[in-house]
C-alpha cells in the first residue's frame, strides 16, 4: 500500500501548509481525508482506529474496489510539497499576523505584513484584505438593505487586490496560493474564463488545496468546460471530477469515481456523504439512510449534509429518527442553514407548517442562496394551500439555480393546483428537460395534458410512454397508458399495456383494483377477439376476487363455453358463406 503512504505523507504536509496560510476549510478537508485513509493493519493501535470504528460494514460493502492505488495514469506531476521558510525575523511578523488573523482581526493582520515581500507573507496579507472586504460587504448588505431589496454592496478590496495580484503574476513571483486568491477575486468580479485559467494553474502546481478545486468546480457549468480544462493527473483530480460530475447531474459517473476513491480513503466521511448525495439524487433512499446512520455513529456532531438525511427521513416518514436528528443538531449548532432545514423538516412532518416555514426562513436569513430551503419552503406553502407564496418561493429557488428541476416541478404543481394546467405545462416542460430520466415528472406532465380542460390525450400518451420507459416506480404509467388507449378505442394497444402492467404487478406481487381492472379488460378483450383460451385464464383468475367482477367473470365464462360448444351453428349464423 505504498500509494496510501504517499497520500498520507502528502496530506500531512499539506494540512500544515494550508493551516499555516490560514486556509482553514481546505486544511480541514485535507485533514479529514488524511484520517480517512485506511491504516496499515499491522501498525494500528486502538487509539489510532478510534475514528474508524464502526465503519466495517461500509468497508465490507465496497471491498471490491481494493485494487486501486494512485490514479489511472499513476504519475503525480507534483510530488511531496516542500516547505519554504521565510527569514526568521520576517517569520516573527508572520506569526503575529497569523495570530491576528486567527482572532479575525484581518486588517490588523494585513497591516503587520505591509512591508513583507515573502510569498507566504504576501499571500496572507492579500487574503486577510480579501476577507476584511468580504466582512464589510456582508455588514453593508444588512445595514443598507433598501426598501426594494438588497443594495449592491461590493467587496471594495477587489480592485486593489486584482491590481496587485496581476502585477505579481506578471513578475512571476506568485505562488499557487496567490493564484487561488487571484482566481477568487476574478470570479467575484465576473471574469469567469480568466478565473478558471488561474485556478487550473493553481491546482496544477499545488493540488492539495481543496478550496481551489471547489471554486473551480463551481465555475464548471457544462460538461464541455469540464473536459476542456488542462488538468494534470493527480489523485486530487479524482475528488474534483467526482464532485463536478455530481454538479452536472451525472450521478452514476460520480458514484463510480467516489467508490473508486473509497479504495484508498475508505474511512473518509466526506466520501461517504458524497456517495449518499449521489444515491439521493438517484433516489436510492434505503442506501442513503444506511450511510447516514453510519456517518452519524462515527461523527455524531456533524451538521454538514445532514439536511439531506432529514429529507430522506421525511420522505420515508421516519418520525422518531427525524426527531432525534433534529434535537441533536439543535443542541449542536442551531444557527446553521442545514440545522434550520432539518428542524423545518421536523416540524413539517409533525404537521406544524407555520413553524416549519419559520425555520426555513431562518435558514434563508443565514444563507440567502440556500437552494433547498427555498424549495422546501415552497413545499410547505403548498401544504398550507398558499399557492402564490409557494410559487414565489419556488421561483426564487429557480432563479438561484436554473437547473433545479425540483423547483420547476413545484412551480408546475402549484399552477396545476390552481387549475391552470396549460400554464403549468411550461414548468413541467422545463423540469423534464433538466431531468428526463425521472418518471414522476413525466407523469405530472401527462396528467396535465390529461386534465379535462386540456384533454390532449395524444400528448398525454407520449408522456406516459416516456414515464414507463424510465422505471416508473409507482407503476402509474402502464396502467394509465392502457386506460387511455382503451378510451381512444385502440384495444390492441390497450391490451398490450394491460398485459405489461399485469406482468409487473405479478413480479412485484402487488394486488388491488388495478389488477382486477386489467384482468377484466383482458378477459373481455380475449373473448371479443375469439381467443377463448386466453380469456378463460384471465376469467379463472378473476374468480379469486370477491365483488361484482367475480360475477362478470362467471358470466363471461358461461358465454364462452356456450360459444365454444355451439360453435358450428353459431359460426354458421354469424359468418354466412
Amino acid at each position: 500500500m505504498g500509494s496510501k503512504e504517499i497520500c498520507r505523507n502528502e496530506l500531512r504536509i499539506a494540512v500544515r501548509q494550508l493551516s499555516d496560510r490560514c486556509l482553514y476549510s481546505a486544511s480541514k478537508w485535507a485533514a479529514e481525508q488524511l484520517v480517512g485513509i485506511e491504516l496499515d493493519p499491522v501498525k494500528f493501535t486502538p487509539s489510532n482506529t478510534r475514528f474508524q470504528r464502526g465503519s466495517s460494514s461500509i468497508r465490507r460493502r465496497f471491498r471490491t474496489n481494493e485494487i486501486m492505488s494512485t490514479p489511472i495514469a499513476g504519475v503525480s506531476y507534483v510530488s511531496t510539497p516542500v516547505m519554504e521558510e521565510d527569514d526568521i525575523v520576517d517569520g516573527d511578523f508572520y506569526l503575529l499576523a497569523k495570530s491576528y488573523f486567527d482572532c479575525r482581526e484581518y486588517r490588523r493582520a494585513a497591516h503587520v505584513l505591509r512591508d513583507q515581500s515573502g510569498k507566504k507573507a504576501v499571500f496572507l496579507r492579500c487574503y486577510a484584505l480579501y476577507l476584511a472586504g468580504e466582512n464589510r460587504k456582508d455588514e453593508e448588505n444588512i445595514e443598507l438593505e433598501g426598501p426594494l431589496g438588497k443594495s449592491d454592496a461590493v467587496n471594495k478590496e477587489l480592485v486593489s487586490l486584482e491590481r496587485e495580484l496581476s502585477m505579481l503574476r506578471k513578475n512571476g513571483s506568485i505562488d499557487p496560493f496567490g493564484l487561488y486568491l487571484y482566481g477568487l477575486v476574478l470570479k467575484e468580479k465576473g471574469s469567469e474564463h480568466l478565473a478558471r485559467n488561474l485556478l487550473v494553474e493553481s491546482v496544477n502546481s499545488y493540488p492539495w488545496n481543496w478550496s481551489a478545486w471547489s471554486e473551480l468546480q463551481s465555475l464548471c457549468t457544462t460538461i464541455d468546460i469540464l473536459h476542456s480544462l488542462p488538468l494534470n493527473n493527480h489523485w486530487m483530480k479524482d475528488f474534483f471530477l467526482a464532485g463536478a460530475y455530481q454538479e452536472l447531474r451525472m450521478h452514476n459517473e460520480s458514484l463510480a469515481k467516489y467508490e473508486y476513491l473509497q479504495g484508498t480513503f475508505s474511512f473518509s466521511n466526506y466520501i461517504q456523504a458524497q456517495i449518499a448525495k449521489a444515491q439521493y439524487s438517484l433516489r436510492e433512499f434505503e442506501q442513503v439512510e444506511v450511510i447516514f446512520e453510519e456517518l452519524l455513529r462515527n461523527d455524531p456532531y456533524r451538521v454538514e449534509d445532514m439536511d439531506m438525511y432529514s429529507n430522506v427521513l421525511y420522505a420515508k416518514e421516519c418520525f422518531s429518527a427525524l426527531s432525534y436528528l433534529a434535537h441533536r443538531v439543535f443542541m449542536t449548532d442551531k444557527y446553521r442553514p442545514e440545522s434550520c432545514c432539518i428542524i423545518g423538516n421536523y416540524y413539517s412532518l409533525k404537521g406544524q407548517h407555520e413553524k416549519s416555514v419559520m425555520y426555513f426562513r431562518r435558514a434563508l436569513k443565514l444563507n440567502k442562496n440556500c437552494l433547498s430551503a427555498w424549495t422546501l419552503m415552497g413545499h410547505e406553502y403548498v401544504e398550507m394551500k398558499n399557492t402564490p407564496a409557494a410559487v414565489d418561493a419556488y421561483r426564487r429557488a429557480v432563479d438561484i439555480n436554473p437547473c433545479d428541476y425540483r423547483a420547476w416541478y413545484g412551480l408546475g404543481q402549484a399552477y396545476e393546483m390552481m387549475g391552470m394546467p396549460f400554464y403549468a405545462l411550461h414548468y413541467f416542460r422545463k423540469s423534464v428537460f433538466l431531468q428526463p430520466s425521472d418518471s414522476r415528472l413525466w407523469i405530472a406532465m401527462a396528467q396535465c395534458y390529461e386534465t379535462e380542460q386540456l384533454h390532449m390525450l395524444e400528448e398525454s400518451i407520449k408522456c406516459y410512454r416516456r414515464a414507463a420507459n424510465c422505471n416508473d416506480r409507482e407503476a402509474i404509467a402502464l396502467h394509465k397508458l392502457a386506460k387511455l388507449h382503451c378510451e381512444l378505442g385502440r384495444l390492441e394497444e390497450a391490451a398490450f399495456y394491460y398485459k405489461k402492467d399485469l406482468e409487473r404487478m405479478e413480479a412485484e406481487e402487488r394486488d388491488g383494483p388495478n389488477m382486477v381492472e386489467a384482468l377484466l379488460f383482458l378477459a373481455t378483450h380475449g373473448k371479443d377477439q375469439k381467443r377463448f383460451e386466453e380469456a378463460e385464464v384471465y376469467c379463472t383468475r378473476l374468480l379469486d376476487y370477491t365483488g361484482p367482477e367475480k360475477e362478470t367473470a362467471k358470466s363471461l365464462l358461461r358465454g364462452m363455453r356456450m360459444a365454444q360448444s355451439g360453435f358450428p351453428s353459431m359460426s354458421a349464423e354469424h359468418f354466412p358463406p
Binding site: G146, N386, P388, R396, Y427, Q453
Partner: protein
Amino acid sequence: MEASEYENMDLENLVFEKVTEEIEAKKKAGERIPFHLHVPTPIFGLVEDTDIELSAKPTFKQSTKGKEAISYAMTLDGSSGAVDHGFFLRSNWQIQGYLLEQTDAIEKHGSSFPLNALEFMLGQLQKLAPELHRVHFLRYLNSLYHDDYASALENLHKYFDYSAGIEGFDGIPPSSGFNNSGRYEIALLCSGMLHFHFGHPKQAVEALTEAVRVSQQHSNDTCLAYTLAAICNLLSEIGISNASGLLGSSYSPVANMGTSLSIHQQLFVLLKESLKRAESLKLKRLVASNHLAMAKFHLMHVQRPVLSFGPKASMKLITSPINVCKELRLSSNLISDFDIESSMMITDGSLSTTWLKNLHRQRGSSVIFEETEPGNRSNASSFFSQPNSIPGSVSQLVGASYLLRATAWEMYGSAPLARMNALVYATCFADCASSVDAAVAYGKLIQYLAAYKGYKAAFAALKTVEEKFISVSKSQIMVLKLQLLHERALHRGHSKLAQQICDELAVLSSPVTGVDMDLKAEASFRHARTLLAAKQFSEAAAVAHALFCMCYKFNLRVQDASTLLLLAEIHKKSGNAVLGIPYALASLSFCESFNLDLLKASATLTLAELWLSLGSIHAKRALTLIHSALPMILGHGGLELRARAHIAEAKCHLSDASFSVPETSGVVLDSLRQACDELQILEYHELAAEAFYLMAITFDKMGQLEEREQAASSFQKHIMALEKVTDEEDPLLK
C-alpha cells in the same frame, strides 16, 4: 421611501396599465398616496452615492446639493440617448414612473426601441431593487417587441411568479382590494397574447381559454372582458380555416354555442358578448376598442342572420357600411368621456412621469422622435388644450378609429374621405401613435399621392417619411417603397425589375403559415400582375388561381374580389374574352356584397372592355357599362383607372359602326387627351402608346394631318421607351 410604503405599494399597476387601464386610473385617483416626491433632488450619481434609502432627511439633502448640480450638468450634455447611464431615480414613485414611461415608449416605438440600452438599465435596476418585479415585465415587453420568444416567455413567467401572489417573502397581502389568490388569469391573458404575437394560434387559444376559466373562477370580470376581446382579436386575425379545427378541440367559451355556426358567426357572437360585458363593467377603453373590432368585422365579413338557416331564411349577403360608421362613431365617443373626467386624471403617479418628460425635454433627447417635428407637437398640444389630460392610450384608440375609417373609405371607394381621415390621423395622433400605426397612415397618404399625382410626388414624399422613420418599422416603410417601385416598374415595362421587387416583397412576410396573410396575398397578387405584364398568361392565371384559393381559405374576401378581377384581366389580355366575362361578373357580385364601390367600378370597366373585345356589335353595351361606372371612376379613381376608362370610352365610340368621326370627334379626342395626360404622369408607356395611337387614327380620319403626325410621334416615343427597357439599377431600391 419607507419600507412600509413599499409594502403598501401596488406592484400590479403595470399589468393593469397593459390590461385594464381603466381600473388603474380609478385606483390611482382614489389611492392614498403620501405626497413624497422630492422632485429634482433625488437625482444624483449612482456611482458616487451608496445610500439607496433616500428618506426625507434634511441633512442628507444638503449634502447632496453639490452632486445634484453635477448630475444635472452631466445629463444635460450627455448624448447617450434615451437611457441615462449616468444618473438614477430614487423615490419609489419615480422609479414606477420611469418604468411606466418606458412601457409607453416600448409600445410606441416597437422594434426600433433600443433593446440593449433598456436591458442594461433594467439589469441595473434589478440589481439595486431585486424586489421590484415590474422590471421583469418590462423585460418581457422589451423582448416581445424585439421578437425574442424565449426571453419574453421566461420573463413573463418570472414576473407573474414573483408578483402575482402575496407580495414578497414576508407574506404581506397586497393592499388593494383583490383576493389573495393572485391574478394569474392576467398571466394567462398575457401568455395568450404572447403566443398570438409569435404566431402560435393553438397555444394562444389554449392560454386564453384557460384565462377565461380562471377569471371566471376568481370572478375577475374585467380580465374576462379583456380576454374575450383578445379571443375576438385572435379569431379575426388568424386565418379562419386555422381556427376551425382549433376551437372545437377544447372546451372554450365558444364551443358551447354549437358547431352549427361558422367561425365568423361565432366571432360575431363573441364580439357582441364581449362588447356587452365591457359596457356593463364600464370599461370605456375596452368598449371603444370593441366597437373598433366590431367595425372591422362589419367591414370585412358578409353578414348573415346568425341563427336562421335554410332556404326560407332571407339571406342578407352584404356588409353594412352604416354599421361600420356607427361603430366607429361610438368608439370615438370615448374621447369626450375622458374630457369630462380629465380633471381626475392627474395623480401623483402621472405627475412623476410628467416631470420625467420635462427632464427629457431639457436634455433635448433626440430619440423620442416626436421632438423632431416641433410643429407636430404643438399641434397636438393645442388640440388637446391640456397636454396630459387625456391618457395616451385613449388618444391611441381614437386615432385607431380614424385609421380604420381611412381604410374603410378606401375600400368603399371614397378617395377624399379616406385621404382626409389618414391626414387627421397623421396630424393629430402621430404623437401618441405607435410608430407602426403612424407609418401606416403615412403610407396611405403616399399611396394616394402615387395614385392621384404620379410617382414623382410620391417618391419625394417617401423620402421625407423615410427620414422621419429613420430607424423605425423597417418593414412598413419598406413595403410601401417596394409597392411604389413595383407599380412604377410595371408601368414603365421593366418586367425583370418588377419581378425582382416582387420577390423582395414576398421575403418580407413571415414564413409561418397563417401569419402576415395580407402581405403574402399582396406579394402573390403582384407576382401575377408581373407575369401578366410579361405576357406569360398561363403562368399568371395559375398564380392568380392559387391566390384565390388561398384568400378563400383564409377568408380574405376583399382580396378575393380583386383576384377575380385580375383573372378577368388576364383572360382579356390573352384574348380570351369569353372566359374573362364570368370572372368579371363574379368579381362584380363580390364587390356588390361588400360595398366595394370603387373596385366595382373598375370591374364594370373591365367587363366593358371584355364586351368590346368580343366585337363591335357589343360596343353599345360596353358604352352603357362604362357610363354607369364613370361617375365613380372620375370622382374617386386614380390616374390609371381614369385613363383606362377614357380610352375604353374612346374605343367604344370608334368601333361603333353608327359613329361618325367628324361629328362626335370632340368627345373622343377629349377623353383621349385626358387619358394621355394622366398616363404621361404615370409614365405608363403601354397604355399611353395606345392612347396616342387611337388619337392618331382619329386625327387621320378627321384629316388633320399635322396633329396626326404629332400624335404618331408621341406614340413612337412611348413605344421606343417601352422597347428599350433598360434594367438600370434603381437608386431607390438600394
